[in-house]
Amino acid sequence: MKARVFVTLKPGVLDPQGKAIHHALDGLGFAGVNDVRAGKLIELDLADGTSEADIEAMCRQLLANTVIENFRVEQAS
């Protein structure tokens, strides 16, 4: 089974990388970009039957820093 973990900065946490991307898009002439936030996508290839609780534990213990980041898990069988 596979799972995709999306790690994003919490709202309100300053995202310098998103700001730099935004600036570069402006430089390329793309008008109308209001804001950019950068995150991470982590793809896990898991043993069948890995529980949701186990995946959540992986996120909390390592994949996301919950002081500054949120995470969302998408499972695909």
Partner: protein, 222 residues
Amino acid sequence: MISAVIVFPGSNCDRDLKVAIEAVTGRAPAMVWHREMELPAGTGLIAIPGGFSYGDYLRSGAMAARSPIMQAVTQAAGRGVPVLGICNGFQVLTEAGLLPGALMRNAGLHFVCRIVGLKVETSQSIFTSFYSAGEEIVIPVAHHDGNYQANRETLDRLEGDGRVAFRYTGEVNGSARSIAGILNTSGNVLGMMPHPERALEAAHGGTDGRRLFEGLLEAVAA
């Protein structure tokens, strides 16, 4: 005094820290590889060096904070053993949950490598007892992820409890409330982005880092 410098793959200030500790204490620290499960018996000081452990993969300090030796470091910290984390070491300590908050990409996006002014916020700690509160010192920084962030309650608590050890005197990296170094609740764990081990001898261009190690030595020896 038996001291230990923790070495991760990608640490690069481990030797500088060893030289600084040996210069002040007269005894070379044990260099402890991250795969070890135990610290040398009787370790009275643990230092976590700067560098780019695990290539800063995932987040700065994230992998190192979960390496085997960190369980022993966490246990020792709980027993009151002094733990000093410098630069990447500070990032490791926040990732390990030994200090609150997080260190994010510098607000200006650039790697900052220069000598900066610091204000010593408290002399009431084993790390800062040889400085005066309010004293201004100069210490080098060299980091990309030194932008200290925590929620407002945490920042208020750090300030209210006298746990902000150092603040930048000018703008460096966007850190909340200009925080450069913080203490844990018991006062035996310090994380700081500036490098006191690079300001030990006159040949370094400044000696303001030396008193941190001298104060620690006196506290540990007492």
